[in-house]
């Protein structure tokens, strides 16, 4: 197979900005005074100095009643209860695992928060502690839900549902957390032949279609032996490239945008999608379609 090499100079960078001319809300930059009145409560991204309320990040102001906060464009993932996340096991400790979720601090997955293989519901015994490694090892990918947030910001995860658990064959994609739109469900089965998990922490997992009705064993089993057919691989690849394109142009990622992007991308071959111009092209077209819907 012949392979194409693309060599690009930094000076030939493609402008990935696809901003539209819209009205801009007021942007605040660090050190800028938001308001001088002190009846407001301070939220995230603000601090008080000399009786004035000042912004500490660059972003847009949010006001809920009299709570003012400034939301930055990008930041590390700040977990909230009920979020779906995709994470990687970094450590196996006594009675718990440490999971890297692209947040400030590593999240914790307690032994008591997972479904034991076999679906048993029993007290965790000492043997289970020894067998932790057999369930999840360092380097494994899991999908989980945030159970609670500790006082220092550490997230506590649980996988107490058949939907969550160890992840098998698929593609992991990391984007900025702020690009993932909050929606009701983060597990999508795309009609194009792949399913996607949009973790709130910016980790996106693309895999072949999950059949929920499968005799799942609580998600601890990785189906690494089954051979995924070529076509599915291609669609997975294409979806990955589309999401990458959207991320590069800083567009919000949710099921609709992915689908549109996928459709727009059909005119390119999967490999061509990696070329920056193609990415920008898709993104612009997707944006166009999305805006048409809004109208």
């Amino acid at each position: 197979m012949s392979q194409k090499f693309h060599i690009r100079l930094a000076s030939q960078r493609v402008n990935t900005s696809i901003a539209e001319n819209q009205r801009y809300p007021k942007i605040f930059t660090p050190g800028e005074t938001i308001t001088k009145q002190n009846e407001f409560m301070r939220g995230h991204g603000t601090y008080e100095d000399n009786g004035e309320l000042k912004s500490s990040v660059a972003g847009v102001r949010e006001q809920v009643n009299n709570l003012i906060s400034v939301k930055p464009l990008k930041s590390r993932y700040n977990g909230e209860v009920g979020d779906i996340v995709v994470g990687r096991i970094t450590e196996v400790q006594q009675k718990r695992w440490k999971v890297d979720t692209n947040a400030r601090l590593d999240s914790i997955l307690l032994l008591s928060s997972v479904n034991l293989p076999g679906g048993e519901l029993r007290r965790r015994s000492v043997e289970d502690e020894h067998m932790m490694r057999q369930y999840l090892q360092e380097g494994d990918l899991i999908s989980a839900e945030v159970q609670s947030v500790h006082s220092d910001g550490t997230l506590s995860l649980h996988t107490r549902s058949l939907r969550y658990g160890k992840l098998g064959q698929g593609v992991l994609l990391k984007v900025f957390p702020s690009l993932i739109q909050r929606s009701k469900t983060h597990f999508h089965n795309l009609p194009v032949g792949a399913s996607v998990i949009l973790g709130n922490n910016g980790f996106i997992w693309i895999c072949p279609i999950i059949n929920n009705s499968e005799d799942s064993v609580g998600g601890f089993v990785q189906n690494l032996e089954e051979k995924v057919p070529r076509q599915e691989r291609e669609s997975i690849g294409r979806i990955r490239n589309c999401i990458q394109a959207l991320a590069m142009c800083k567009m919000m990622i949710y099921d609709t945008s992915i689908l549109y992007a996928y459709e727009e991308s059909l005119k390119y071959s999967i490999v061509e999608l990696l070329v920056p111009e193609a990415m920008v092209d898709i993104a612009i077209l997707t944006q166009h379609r999305l805006s048409m819907i809004e109208v």
């Binding site: 901003a19 809300p25 942007i27 930059t29 990040v57 847009v60 464009l73 930041s75 590390r76 142009c249």
Partner: protein, 250 residues
Amino acid sequence: MSKKELLSKIGLRLDGRRAHELRRIRCKLGVFTEPDGSAYMEQGLTKVLAAVYGPHQVRGSKSKAQHDNVVINCQFSMAVFSTTDRKKRPRGDRKSTELSMHLQQALESVIKTELYPWSQIDVYVEVLHADGGIYPACVNAATLALIDAGIPLKEYVCACTASLANNDVPMVDISHQEEVLGGPTLTIAALPMSGKIVLMEMSQRFHLDHLDKVMNKALQGCKDIRRILDEAVRLHVRDVGSATGWALAT
């Protein structure tokens, strides 16, 4: 040997600027996709890249983690091709270590460290072309990268150099040629809006009488730089924000 005048009789410097003018500044945020925040800054011919990772779990020894503050880890390095003579060691030599420490000092004063106990923020700065004023360019680039990463700051920290020409006229933003030919160079890192000075450093000596005016010139330079950086940040936020459809605002 021709003795070059740093400031000619008409008031122009060696490169055609006047004494109070800064060099051309160009900057861009979000140049990398991997780090949480990144920025590229050009001040004259000096080019600097900054990348910020964090805040994240403290890597390495747990003992480094502090219970009430975030640990800031700075690393400064110069590319081997950044100076006229190829540098043998890009990092780890005395100058790099010293500048890393200075950078850390400057950033610590402005990052709201109390928000992130047990975490660590990494700042990496790389100089691609050194033409005078490396430290200020690094500080400015690091500020932009931090803002890009969404880390809360008290305000911008900007840095600028100033020097004396003809022994009595202060000049701002010194290029490499002027540094070599001229006299002492004063570097100031400050918080322009509140006027607080974070770091002050001088290369040679000059008489106390001159300190005031040189310092004021440098502070003015910092203020001017802040305005330019602010512009750049707003532009960037606008771009990205509108691309995301301002979904964040809702």
